[in-house]
């Protein structure tokens, strides 16, 4: 790791094809800044991206990266980190990727508490397929596939995370660059699975959850007396649903990441050029 890495080093020479004004620009810039500020460089960083507008992020950033299949980015990230704990692993995706097709993996990634961060660009809409309801869309949100609204309660990702034993739950707003960067940085520095749900507005297909809406509704927890280690307070705020909170909702100060708990400190890519020296012991076990 070199100390003089700049956030621009994490930027690839590929120009994003996101719509002008898309929240994902700000989300990505914050990720790059946070990675640089935490002393990482592209050669020790692994980004895993899902499918959707957000999934394109692996292409626009410069690092080791895999752009996987829809909804399965989290297990890939966990596999990378377990195989080589020296790498900084960041998983990025959208609300559809993480809370719909990948909802099962989300719960189990939270439980496993692998030391990596997960940045979700939550725009409450399916953008790449041109505007269908997402798992976080409001109940009365009208789209081409939900003309009368979804008539279902939206997924509350922070509640899912808390109920699954999360050790770090944060929420940010992509257009507040400084605060968003700070929260991603906290997630990286957290010992365990760091979730940052980012309000990242879709300017093309979502005319409800807009920049103006969020600007008016957001309550920044740093301006309250909220104590992130207070799980009860976190639960109350997460379940209340009448506020769009930004900040660290919950952080377990005693979090022990999976790898440390399981004593996984080796880079698994390094193996001998034959069977392990004492491998005949394995055969003798079968006497």
């Amino acid at each position: 790791m070199s100390s003089d890495v700049r956030f621009i080093d994490f930027k690839s020479d590929k120009q994003p094809t996101w719509c002008p004004g898309c929240g994902d620009f700000g989300t990505m810039n914050g990720m790059m800044k946070a990675l640089a500020e935490t002393g990482n460089d592209p050669d020790n960083t692994f980004i895993v991206a899902g499918i959707g507008c957000s999934g394109k992020i692996g292409t626009y950033m410069h690092s080791y990266a895999l752009h996987g299949v829809h909804g399965r980015a989290l297990p890939v990230g966990a596999g990378v980190k377990m195989a080589n704990p020296e790498l900084e692993v960041m998983v990025a995706g959208g609300d559809g990727d993480g809370y719909s097709i990948g909802a099962g993996h989300f719960i189990h990634a939270v439980r496993r508490n692998v030391d990596m961060s997960y940045v979700v660009m939550d725009n409450r809409i399916y953008g790449l397929t041109k505007g269908q309801a997402s798992p976080t869309s409001r109940e009365d949100f009208e789209t081409s596939t939900s003309p009368d609204g979804t008539n279902m309660a939206p997924v509350n990702p922070l509640a899912l995370a808390l109920a699954s034993g999360a050790t770090f739950i944060a929420q940010s707003f992509s257009s507040d660059s400084q605060r968003h960067t700070e929260l991603v940085r906290e997630a990286i520095e957290h010992d365990g699975f760091g979730l940052v749900n980012v309000y990242s507005p879709c300017v093309t297909f979502n005319d409800v959850d807009t920049y103006d809406y969020w600007r008016d509704s957001i309550v920044d927890l740093s301006e309250t007396d909220h104590d992130p280690s207070d799980e009860d307070d976190a639960r109350e705020r997460i379940m209340s649903g009448d506020r769009e909170h930004v900040g660290i909702l919950y952080q377990d100060p005693d979090s022990v990441p999976y790898g440390r708990r399981e004593g996984m400190d080796q880079n698994m890519s390094e193996i001998p050029d034959g069977a392990p020296e004492d491998a005949m012991d394995l055969v003798r076990e079968f006497y």
């Binding site: 050669d43 195989a83 055969v283 079968f286």
Partner: protein, 588 residues
């Protein structure tokens, strides 16, 4: 006196059938006898009918047969289930004092050995040891030295303390003595011991051991019969070599976890059965497109759908060779014996890394649950070679960058194999994706690059065909008129079946195929034979279909895969070019 002896213990699930059978199998193996085991079992925790069967001989045994000489029956149903296999002189050991066994009627032509298993076990210290009393009785019937049981009783019960071990030894002796004192002429069978030194293991364990030997450090899986033994074998053991087993939330996660570990440079593996392969097929395409080395083991069971989870079938071949949307380059290899489970696993890891693609390692239930004896040197670890393929380090990165110093993980080389830089390698940062991509691993829909990358991936298979020996295993008379071809666990029964055919004057040439895709061209072998019979545990004859296709005369092909539909004029031109040679031929 038969050359081989067939022994079984049967009862309800939960009766300790498996562990009792295993104790006897181990004792036989330690006494220098060959062992080949099988199980009758159902997918349930308790009740029903389950049996552990052992075929043993001083010579190698490679198959089960339809004959049962000694049966320990813990339930009446066990006798009914095996009536077809029992014969004149078969010995049935049961406990007539049990209320459920009071009406047992052993046919007159068989030896009725009513032994108070439960009471004797209580005398030894607890009714739980009734199966061990039965083992002692079986020792007496087969003239097998009771002392040979001791070591396997110690192995099985040492965690429970010496008192328990000693009680079990006593229980065995009480069973032996009871038979000795109460029955005459019971020593019809003779389990002769030898000085040979054998290990006893099943196919799943051989796969797990092969994985560790091959440097596999990461295993993610989801429990499924009959592949779970691979996972259970590796759990705890792989840790001693710096590795880890992860129980994933489902097979989708299992393959993605493994894929992540493989991207990070670990030798990674997942094992499952058909229903799990169905789920993994989603990510299988990504493994192929991202050119990630990964070993995916399918221990086949009877399908379709949930099928018959504890029954044998070889029905997944088409899925493994063709499964997945689009065209995914892969290798498919399948062990044909328990020992081969070890060596083909080692080979699968080498092939995956040398050619940077997914390798299906296909085994079957019969290999998975069969415990078989081998000389320990069958698994000589010094013979394990690890070949990791084209991995580049910091110094070599520069030879593989473009004019803008960007590493090219999918560079279209002459042999199709691109350089691999593990994450953490300075200057090697790159992405890859399941989208079609260029040499940099970035998305493209450029028709020329698309064609270049498809051909590059195909070229790896062509290269593997040139560099590897895709051979078959051959048995019997090479000039015989009858040719048998098979794959998977059928090798053992076919080899033994050939001996029976030979007695009837029927000579057979037998080709056993561990390489299924690519596979050897058997055109000459099939043409030389008068009759070719393909033997498979499936209804359609999936390998037979493939071989019939292989020996057909080649068709001309017009293909297009650049992402653009056929255009009439272009198509006409391609057809014109294809038909030209034959037209020339006719004018000559």
């Amino acid at each position: 006196m038969p050359d081989d002896l067939n022994w079984a213990i049967g009862g309800e699930a939960g009766d300790g059938i498996d562990s009792t059978g295993k104790i006897f199998a181990q004792a036989l193996s330690r006494a220098g006898r060959h062992v080949y085991t099988s199980k009758d079992f159902a997918s349930r925790i308790r009740g029903g009918y389950t049996a552990y069967k052992i075929r043993t001989s001083v010579d190698r045994v490679e198959s089960v047969v339809d004959r049962l000489d000694i049966l320990i029956a813990l339930t009446e149903r066990t006798i009914d289930e095996n009536m077809d296999e029992l014969h004149d002189g078969s010995v049935i050991i049961y406990d007539g004092e049990r209320t459920t066994m009071q009406n047992v009627e052993v046919p007159d032509n068989m030896v009725d050995l009513d032994v108070p298993l439960q009471s004797l076990a209580e005398d030894a210290g607890g009714s739980i040891m009734r199966n061990v009393v039965a083992l002692g009785a079986a020792c007496q019937v087969t003239n097998f030295p009771i002392g040979s049981l001791d070591a396997s009783l110690e192995k099985r019960f040492k965690d429970k303390g010496t008192a328990i071990v000693e009680n079990n030894k006593d229980a065995a002796r009480l069973g032996q003595e009871y038979v000795q004192e109460n029955y005459d002429h019971t020593e019809e069978y003779d389990l002769e011991t030898t000085d040979s030194d054998y290990v006893l293991l099943n196919g799943d364990e051989a796969i797990g051991m092969g994985a560790i030997a091959a440097g596999c450090r990461f295993y993610a899986g989801y429990p499924i019969t009959p592949a779970t033994d691979v996972m259970e074998y590796l759990t705890g053991r792989i840790d001693q070599y710096g590795g880890k087993v992860i129980q994933a939330e489902d097979e989708l996660a299992a393959i993605n976890l493994s894929l992540g570990a493989a991207r990070a440079g670990a030798r990674a593996m997942t094992a499952t059965s058909g229903p799990g392969v169905d789920l993994m097929t989603e990510t299988f395409g990504l493994v192929g497109a991202s050119e990630t080395p990964l070993v995916i083991c399918d221990v086949m069971r009877a399908g379709p759908s949930t099928g018959m989870p504890t029954k044998q079938e070889q029905g997944d071949l088409n899925m493994l060779i063709y499964g997945g949307h689009g065209e995914v380059e892969r290798l498919v290899i399948g062990p044909t014996t328990v020992a081969e489970c070890f060596w083909r696993t080692v080979e699968a890891f080498n092939l995956a890394e040398k050619y940077q693609l997914p390798v299906y390692l296909v085994s079957d239930l019969s290999l998975a649950v069969t415990e078989q004896t081998f000389r320990p040197e069958t698994f000589d670890m010094d013979d394990v070679e690890i070949e990791r393929g084209k991995i580049v380090d910091e110094e070599e990165i520069d030879s593989w960058t473009d004019e803008q110093d960007r590493f090219q993980p999918h560079f279209p080389t002459a042999d199709g194999i691109s350089p691999r830089a593990f994450p953490g390698t300075d200057g090697g940062a790159h992405m890859t994706t399941g989208l079609e991509h260029n040499a940099l691993g970035r998305r493209t829909e450029d028709t020329e690059i698309r064609v270049e990358q498809v051909e590059k991936r195909q070229r790896k298979i062509e290269t593997s065909k040139q560099r590897e020996t895709w051979d078959y295993r051959e048995f019997g008379d090479p000039d015989a008129d009858t040719l048998l071809i098979s794959w998977g666990s059928n090798e053992g029964p076919i080899r033994e079946g050939m001996e029976l055919l030979a007695k009837d004057g029927i000579d057979v040439r037998f080709i056993s195929m561990p390489y299924l895709s690519p596979r050897p061209d058997l055109t000459a072998e099939i043409e030389n034979a008068e009759t070719t019979i393909v033997v498979e545990c499936n209804a359609k004859g999936q390998l037979a279909d493939l071989l019939e296709r292989d020996v057909l005369e080649r068709l001309e092909r017009v293909n297009k895969f650049d992402g653009v539909r056929f255009k009439a004029d272009e198509l006409a031109e391609k057809v014109r070019r294809s038909v030209k040679p034959s037209q020339e031929a006719t004018t000559q």
